[in-house]
């Protein structure tokens, strides 16, 4: 019961702040609501016994990616935003379609059943950081290495793209 209440709170805040993220005029305000959203998603992760990923969510998403966003948003001055239109001219249609799609998924989910739902009361025994690490470095070693290459590409790509060309 208490878990359901906590989940309801998290879900409500997540949905409301997500809507606020995509409707605010000022991108800096969007970033603030995004921060709120990340916090509550981390809360959902804790509810699902994934404490390590909750911490990673806060460290990487909130502490690094979003700060980068904020940096660029503030650097590329957003003065004009207050006069310009927020959305393109199709937005009422798109919002309607969004509602329809969400309703459809909700219908499908509520009608269907999930295989794991019967035995859900059991908690993963000691699914701590150690087990996660063991799985990550044994079964998923190759994807792990590939992800490090992706990060390297991202690093070099970002530097090459954003660098000012000096000898032109």
């Amino acid at each position: 019961m208490i878990n359901q209440l906590i989940f309801a709170y998290f879900a409500a805040v997540i949905v409301v702040s997500a809507v606020l993220v995509i409707t605010r005029k000022n991108p800096v305000h969007s970033v603030m609501f995004m921060l709120l959203l990340f916090f509550h998603i981390a809360g959902v992760f804790v509810l699902l016994n994934a404490e390590f990923l909750a911490a990673v969510q806060l460290i990487v998403y909130a502490g690094a990616i979003l700060i980068l966003f904020l940096f660029v948003v503030i650097l590329l001055s957003v003065e004009r935003e207050s006069q310009a239109a927020r959305a393109n001219r199709f937005w009422p249609w798109l919002a309607g379609f969004g509602l329809i799609i969400a309703g459809e998924i909700a219908l499908l989910v509520l009608r269907g059943s999930f295989p794991g739902e019967g035995k859900m009361a059991v908690q993963v025994a000691g699914a701590g950081v150690r087990d996660l690490g063991v799985v990550l470095y044994s079964k998923f070693l190759v994807p792990f290495e590939i992800s490090s290459v992706i990060l390297l590409v991202g690093l070099i790509g970002a530097v090459m793209l954003a660098k000012k060309k000096t000898n032109e």
Binding site: V21, V72, N88, M120
Partner: protein, 100 residues
């Protein structure tokens, strides 16, 4: 105990909000943030299923998703800086050089 379907519904709602944001907003930052919303929706699903199926694979996938999101954000922001420098705007409908 929270039923699994609740998590799926939450994730679906978040994903739809992200899709609508990507398609309707003009500001390229908000579009990028909407993409992050969609990735987060996927993460919620992955962790929820990992918890209910008693399998750590879902959590491992979330680590990979976050890695890719970090690389993607870095490259995308570099592209935005480049675009803003060359075109002087951050609105996607003004990036229309290829329009005849």
């Amino acid at each position: 105990m929270v039923p699994l379907s609740w998590y799926v519904l939450l994730s679906a709602a978040l994903f739809t909000i992200g899709v609508v944001g990507v398609l309707s907003r003009r500001n390229v930052f908000i579009i990028l943030m909407s993409i992050e919303l969609m990735l987060n929706a996927a993460n919620i699903n992955l962790i929820a299923f990992s918890h209910y199926l008693q399998n750590l694979t879902g959590q491992i996938f979330v680590i990979f998703v976050i890695t890719v999101a970090a690389a993607e954000a870095a490259v995308a922001l570099a592209l935005i800086i480049l675009l803003a420098r060359n075109r002087g705007t951050v609105y996607v409908d003004e990036f229309n050089l290829l329009k005849g």
